[in-house]
Symmetry: C2
Subunit: 250 residues, 2 copies
């Protein structure tokens, strides 16, 4: 049963729908915005978080849901996506453990702008947005860290906007793979392996293209020795040359 698995991607640990208390504390301590906080304060904050596990493909919340919680990925991977009327989805980001998502705004509509969906077996911590705002008010360092992270995300979004409006599909797909490689890549004998089940459709939705174009382009990259790939996985064999393509050289 395991013997003829062909994908090099390792399945998520079988830890079920609960995160152990150890893991929770470990995750929270490692969170960029709690870095530097006294341990006992973190323990106090920890108590304000709820936890919940999600099966692969399960939706954590839908765009438009009228709730305000802030989530943190404890384990697993989470897709952040936005729907279009035509049913065509756009994959905005893939979040790794330690990253946050959800709604932490005080103003505006009380709805999530995006849909969040577990890509693998996932455990997520969540907290009431208002409670988190209280924490930010009490610990300015936390607020500053949040600003930094949002700043970084805004920068990434702007970069993506540039990509989408001024680059070819080939360039955007190369760029998408590199981004995923940076975030989720693990060295393996096939190259820098993107550690997660990643379909052609996912790649297409991230790069703003159709499944067919994504497939054609990946085939072409594979033929050129830039990547290796199979059903639901991709590994980067030659990131440098990929980068050249993404930047418009090749």
């Amino acid at each position: 049963m395991v013997s003829h698995r062909r994908t090099p991607v390792e399945p998520e640990s079988i830890t079920p729908h609960l995160c152990s208390l150890d893991l929770r504390l470990h995750i929270l301590k490692g969170l960029p915005f709690f870095a530097g906080l006294p341990e006992e304060d973190i323990a106090g904050i920890n108590a304000r978080f709820h936890e919940r596990g999600y099966a692969p493909g399960e939706t954590i919340f839908y765009a438009g849901d009228p709730v305000k919680r802030l989530y943190v990925v404890a384990s697993g991977k989470v897709k952040l996506l936005r729907h279009t009327l035509s049913g065509q989805d756009v994959l905005l980001d893939i979040l790794a453990p330690g990253e946050f998502f959800g709604n932490l705004s005080a103003l505006g509509d009380d709805v999530y702008p995006d849909t969040a969906q577990a890509q693998t077996l996932t455990c997520a911590l969540s907290i009431e947005a208002d409670v988190f705002r209280q924490i930010m008010a009490a610990y300015p360092a936390v607020a500053l860290a949040v600003v930094d992270i949002m700043n970084e995300r805004l920068r990434a979004a702007h970069e993506m906007m540039r990509q989408l409006s001024a680059h070819t599909a080939e360039q955007r797909i190369a760029h998408t793979l590199l981004k995923l490689g940076e975030k989720l890549g693990q060295p393996a004998d096939v190259g820098l392996l993107i550690q997660m089940p990643l379909s052609r459709e996912d790649v297409a939705a991230m790069a703003g293209a159709t499944v067919e174009t994504a497939s054609r382009t990946l085939s072409q990259f594979k033929k050129a020795g830039l990547i290796r790939s199979g059903r639901q996985w991709v590994a980067l064999a030659d990131p440098d040359r990929l980068r050249a393509i993404a930047e418009g050289d090749a």
Copy 2:
């Protein structure tokens, strides 16, 4: 000389390259992130800001400049754009008085990710990023307001990403006009007038299209009675129908 101006767009007030002290205080008081702060604290903060005027078309800073300042538009309009290697620029946003831009991050590269350029005669206040971070640390309410604003911008950027990757040029241009109308629109006898000199090239760079496509699409909108426009100006005559186009109905 003035008699045969054809544009309905009013020129920026002739106030020259300096903002009066009154204006400075007024701007700072009205800033969303200083709302609710005691007046005397604002006066103290005011002292930490520098001011500088810019001529139309003048660049405030270039992407890659190794400085860290946070800017606030006091008067005028500022274009935020990102260059591509192919010389094709992407217009990320147009900022109105009261909006901020620049670099306020503590981490990452000490460079601006985007270029900022005065679109009209502009006065901008600026502050050292580190100083502003101190202010955020001292006044948690300020930090929370900044988080809210960045949250809103991130949402807008995600929306734009969706637009770029899943909509036609016509839809994107309609959407661009509506966005501009919301932000800069003023009721006039020609419709909701976008109060600033706006070339076809600007529209194209915001919508991710070429000048020619923008021109063709605007002509078509004009013929259909959706907008009125001329050299360097656009007014929305029928926002509702434009919205229908942007959303994919028409």
